[in-house]
């Protein structure tokens, strides 16, 4: 593939993208000079903690929001100057928002959105049936929107996101708050849409398993900046080491673990709480066994008991930890 082919295959191109918001607390920089390219047929993940800038990027690319500076193009059209041309070839869905009129059936809602794209009614109904079947929604299409469960409302949202046969689809946390089985079927659906129809899917998420499962490439984003961008496997390989996982008790407060980050050979750490067992799980990205030993000792000195510890293959969160020095949970706590 020569450079021209690569250029033709790029469906989303972002250069120096910056977005700043004025708030009561002052200026907030949501995106700080983002550069990124997404190719045709790719499921591209944008992974980061809450407040990292993922949703802002999707809002800009889907023409809901203008950038403060920089350039963003979708299918070669500029988001600032040619929003209508972009709107004709994209769609978008957010997991946190399930758009629909409560007193209209799922089918009625989907038909309404299809009409906004000028799809002939018969063709629209055909597409609604086909897409719904793929998501197991076909038996619920004639129920009023309000009567659907969260999972089925989300399926309606995802059918809507593909109703206009879009070339690029922006999905913002599409499986948030859903049970495992529903999330799995939605991931399969997304993959199928990319593979079978050559659609570009830009998936913003903080779910690492989701990125690992379906994304061809992923950009790790924090505080409005892209820290790394590659395939999930390549990103994990860059760590070059497995991570140390410790189950400790009692559960430490968020700030209590900060000394860990200052130990020699420690690239960063993150923690989560297992409420059922009253434990905290700490994942530490370390360079070498000596650093691992010093982590265990430091935790003991903090007054915690190490219930068990082991090494595991690096995950994307540990890649994030290695890049930032903190996990998603700590990052969200810092910014809240």
């Amino acid at each position: 593939m020569d450079m021209n082919d690569i250029d033709a295959a790029v469906t989303v191109r972002v250069n120096g993208l910056r977005r700043q918001f004025d708030s009561k607390e002052g200026k907030v920089i949501a995106l700080d000079g983002v550069d990124m390219q997404v190719r045709k047929g790719e499921v591209f993940g944008v992974l980061g903690p809450n407040g990292a800038g993922k949703t802002t990027m999707i809002r800009i690319l889907s023409t809901l929001l203008l950038p403060s500076s920089g350039k963003a193009e979708v299918m070669g059209f500029d988001v600032g100057k040619e929003p209508e041309k972009i709107r004709a070839v994209i769609n978008m869905a957010s997991g946190a928002e399930r758009a629909g009129y409560d007193f209209i059936t799922a089918r009625g809602n989907l038909w309404f959105f299809s009409q906004l794209y000028g799809i002939p009614s018969e063709e629209a109904h055909k597409r609604i049936n086909e897409l719904s079947k793929m998501l197991g929604l076909q038996n619920y299409l004639d129920r009023k929107f309000y009567a659907l469960s969260t999972g089925y409302k989300q399926r309606v949202t995802l059918v809507r996101a593909f109703i206009n046969d879009p070339k690029v689809v922006f999905l913002d946390e599409p499986t948030i708050g859903l049970d495992v089985m529903t999330a799995l079927s939605i991931r399969e659906y997304i993959l199928k849409q990319a593979k079978d129809h050559g659609r570009t899917i830009l998936l913003a998420t903080h779910n690492m398993a989701e990125v690992d499962a379906i994304c061809n490439r992923v950009a790790i984003i924090d505080k409005g900046k892209i820290l790394a961008c590659d395939t999930p496997a390549a990103l994990k390989r860059t760590l070059g080491a497995s991570s140390l996982v410790l189950d400790v008790s009692p559960v430490p407060t968020l700030g209590a673990l900060e000394p860990l980050g200052k130990l020699d050979g420690v690239k960063g750490y993150t923690s989560s709480i297992d409420e059922e067992r009253g434990l905290s799980r700490i994942q530490v990205v370390v360079e070498g066994d000596a650093a691992g030993q010093s982590v265990v000792e430091a935790i003991r000195k903090m007054g915690m008991t190490v219930m068990s510890n082991w090494r595991q293959q690096a995950t994307l969160e540990e890649v994030f930890v290695a890049l930032v020095g903190r996990g998603f949970r700590e990052r969200e706590h810092e910014t809240s």
Binding site: L65, I104, G118, N164
Partner: protein, 280 residues
């Protein structure tokens, strides 16, 4: 401008108005409002005029009030629909999805307005008929309405023509609703209150102090009220035509202003990032 998008929005708007209950209950409840307004305004006039010294009750003035009150509730009911469509659309996330569909926000607002216009026209006509018979029998005197195919057609034509002005007003209000997170639900109520005073709904605007009366005198809603009364009470076609023409002219000006304000607000809202924002 997509006719398909307008037609779908009419259908959705209609369902939004009536799908929450069965059609008969929905229609009945929607008729109660305008009917109550007409009867309340007429009752106030009747009681005040018969107890005046000397009594000054005038059946043609009662007809004037019935027409004004009914048409005022009609305009108030559907002119705020664009604002409603945006305010509720932000909460349900329907509006951001409409916005990112190509060239769709305006057809969507037009469709929603037309659906409301149709339902409100039906309820207002029923209110006019019911209040006419109810008040005639209670007061025991005839109310001088001209009810012929021509007069009713002229009234309906005036109502249709007034869509320009009402939609223009709706766009002006929705321009605010696009980037507002406060008062967007209440604003149309305030404006409807002003409309009652300034549109000759219940009394001639010449009774207002200058220069307010001059402004009210050229509002398309005032011309619409006058045209409707010339059709239904005075039977004066030349005067009807004059006021209908003025109503069209004013309506187009309102529509132009509303469109410009809405487009400006759309761009500003996109710059501020509030098109999909629910709270401040």
């Amino acid at each position: 401008m997509s006719l398909r998008a307008i037609a779908a929005s009419i259908r959705v708007g209609w369902a939004r108005e009536f799908n929450w209950t069965n059609p008969l209950a929905g229609f009945t409840l929607r008729t109660v409002g305008p009917l109550a307004s007409v009867i309340a305004a007429s009752a106030v006039y009747y009681v005040a005029s018969v107890h005046n010294i000397p009594p000054s009750f005038d059946p043609s003035m009662l007809a004037y009030i019935i027409i004004g009150a009914a048409l005022y509730t009609h305009v108030a009911a559907y002119s705020w629909v664009p604002t409603l469509a945006i305010a509720e659309g932000k909460w349900t996330y329907v509006f951001p999805q409409v916005y990112i569909a190509p060239h769709s926000s305006l057809p969507y607002l037009i469709g929603r307005t037309l659906a409301s216009f149709a339902s409100s026209t039906m309820t207002v006509i029923v209110s006019l008929i019911l209040s006419f018979y109810a008040l005639s029998s209670i007061i025991g005197t005839g109310i001088p309405f001209i009810v012929t195919p021509v007069s009713v057609s002229l009234l309906i034509l005036a109502m249709v023509v007034n869509i320009f002005a009402a939609f223009g007003l709706g766009l002006l209000l929705s321009a605010y609703a696009l980037f507002a997170t406060k008062f967007e639900w209440a604003l149309p109520t305030y404006v409807a209150g002003l409309l009652m005073i300034f549109s000759e709904a219940l009394f001639p605007v010449s009774l207002l102090p200058h220069p307010v009366s001059d402004i009210a005198n050229v509002l398309p809603f005032t011309e619409f009220m006058r045209a409707s009364r010339y059709a239904m009470i005075y039977g004066d076609i030349p005067s009807y035509s004059l006021y209908l023409g003025l109503s069209v002219l004013g309506g187009l000006i309102f529509l132009g202003l509303g469109y410009a304000a809405f487009k400006y607000a759309e761009n500003r809202a996109r710059r501020l990032g509030v098109i999909d924002k629910k709270t401040a």
